[in-house]
């Protein structure tokens, strides 16, 4: 049985697997969905809000989307407390770079740095890995708009569109079919995000309190990171439902009388 090789992160199993890392990814598979889409003029991040309990005191503007620095924003999926530690560290790394060099840290360098930390937890110290996957959306002057994804193993990749969390595989295959590279602007990306989220989220009907949307854009040499207000999310959902209804009506054969 593999049980003997489970309990410590820093050892391989006989088949050459790191079980703790895989179990961490398993934990993320049960967490609220997050997806990111790269558009020609910006990036869209969408996240499923699970904590919709009415008793919750509305302290935080956003549950899963965090601004890291002037040019980057991220969304998290997994164990929330682990995510808090990582986002805090990402913010500190950004500020240290800003203090040392007087300019914003390049996107990939920030992702790479944190992933080195995550990898260290799979190799040294006998501590468990972080049960968090992150989607990073950012801009720098070298590569423009970028979308990255990292997981508990410390591996990261650059993406045009991707998804993490619950039902992420279904979402990614949907994105693969529907994402049009070079022909997607921010509005297209927002509509696509809603379409995909409605299929992958648990709820039968999309409501603004269950969905968080954020965009990252550039105007006048500055980066603008916006978490969309409830009204705008409502409008986008309404547009989506109208389109769905139109699609349904088209496919239904006309009733003969």
């Amino acid at each position: 049985m593999a049980r003997r090789y489970d309990t410590r992160t820093t050892i391989f199993s006989p088949e050459g697997r790191l079980y703790q890392v895989e179990y961490a990814m398993e934990a993320i598979g049960h967490a609220g969905t997050c997806l990111g889409i790269l558009a020609s003029d910006g990036i869209v991040l969408a996240a499923e809000r699970r904590n919709t309990n009415k008793l919750l005191d509305e302290v935080f503007f956003s549950e899963k989307i965090y601004q890291l620095n002037a040019d980057m924003v991220c969304s998290v999926a997994g164990i929330t407390s682990d995510a808090n530690v990582l986002t805090n560290e990402l913010r500190l790394i950004s500020q240290r770079y800003l203090l040392q060099y007087g300019e914003s840290i390049p996107c990939e360098q920030l992702v790479s740095w944190l992933c080195d930390v995550k990898q260290a937890y799979t190799q040294y110290g006998g501590k468990r890995p972080f049960g968090v996957s992150l989607l990073y959306a950012g801009w720098d002057h070298q590569y423009g708009f970028q979308l990255y994804q990292s997981d508990p193993s410390g591996n990261y990749g650059g993406w045009k569109a991707t998804c993490i969390g619950n039902n992420s595989a279904a979402a990614v295959s949907m994105l693969k079919q529907e994402y049009k590279e070079g022909e997607t602007n921010l509005d297209d990306a927002l509509a696509l995000a809603i379409r995909v989220m409605s299929k992958t989220m648990d709820a039968t009907k999309l409501t603004p309190d269950k969905l968080e949307l954020a965009t990252l854009t550039r105007h006048d040499n500055k980066t603008f990171i916006k978490v969309l207000p409830v009204a705008q999310v409502k409008t986008l959902i309404a547009d989506h439902e109208k389109k769905e209804a139109a699609e349904a009506a088209k496919s239904k054969p006309p009733t003969t009388s």
Partner: protein
């Protein structure tokens, strides 16, 4: 820093600070070596081999640095081919006044930084302002430990298409300007540079070079730790050129008018 043996009986007024009724060893005296380092004094008490002024000026389309190639060992003109102006990358140049060993130590670190950047191969290169900011942080942190790098640095280069000239001193004071001179140059050459720039704020490359050469000449006449062998570095959008071993024509006839000169 220095452990106070009476800290329980007479607690110090602030951490590592004086305790009333006790003898207080002021930090920075170097009289008592810290035991934490095996009893060795690691701070730069005073510079050993030094370089004198560096001049920097922004002209229309770029920036120029000039300085002599002397490493003085006190009053002895010991090392006469020291490169005090170095190329960092295709858009940045660094010049240093002060202790040559401290400069060369930082030079090695900066060269390694450029290599690491090359290895990362992500298209990002060190820009002049970023180097200036980094240098400021390093120097300020060293001075805060009472172990300064005994230098004044001039960072020159092209930042986003615009010429940039910045200065940092050993205590971490940083600023940028269109004309900067360090060491004796600040007293002797800077007024000459200011006058010229006031007359013509956008100088040509040739005018800037002529101005700096004139200032170097005046410095050779008046600064006793200067040498008649110079480096001139020019940075434009086309790149970096550093000319070494430039010699100046000097006229010492005026020495005959000095009383006591034979």
């Amino acid at each position: 820093m220095y452990a106070n043996p009476n800290s329980i009986i007479n607690p110090s007024l602030w951490p590592n600070g004086p305790a009333p009724g006790c003898f207080f060893n002021f930090p920075g005296n170097g009289v008592t070596p810290s035991t934490s380092n095996g009893g060795i004094i690691t701070r730069t008490q005073s510079p050993v081999t030094t370089g004198t002024s560096i001049l920097g000026i922004i002209f229309d389309g770029g920036v120029m640095l000039a300085g002599d190639m002397l490493g003085s060992y006190g009053s002895m003109a010991k090392f006469r081919s020291i490169e005090r102006i170095i190329k960092v990358n295709n858009s940045t140049v660094l010049g240093a006044t002060g202790d040559i060993a401290d400069f060369q130590h930082l030079q090695a670190i900066i060269e390694q930084k450029v290599i690491d950047e090359d290895c990362a191969d992500d298209g990002f290169t060190l820009k002049p302002k970023a180097l200036h900011t980094w240098l400021t942080r390093v120097l300020y942190n060293r001075r805060s430990k009472f172990d300064p790098l005994w230098n004044t640095f001039l960072v020159a280069g092209i930042e986003d298409g615009e010429p940039y000239l910045g200065c940092v001193d050993k205590i971490g004071t940083a600023f940028s300007d269109s004309k900067i001179a360090t060491g004796y140059g600040a007293h002797i050459a800077l007024p000459l540079m200011r006058e010229a720039l006031e007359k013509k704020p956008q100088m040509t490359k040739e005018e800037a070079r002529a101005l700096l050469i004139n200032c170097l000449r005046v410095l050779f006449y008046r600064d006793c730790r200067a040498l008649n062998k110079h480096q001139i570095a020019t940075i434009t959008n086309e790149g970096v050129t550093i000319e070494n071993n430039i010699q100046l024509d000097t006229n010492w006839e005026v020495a005959n008018f000095v009383v006591g000169y034979e």
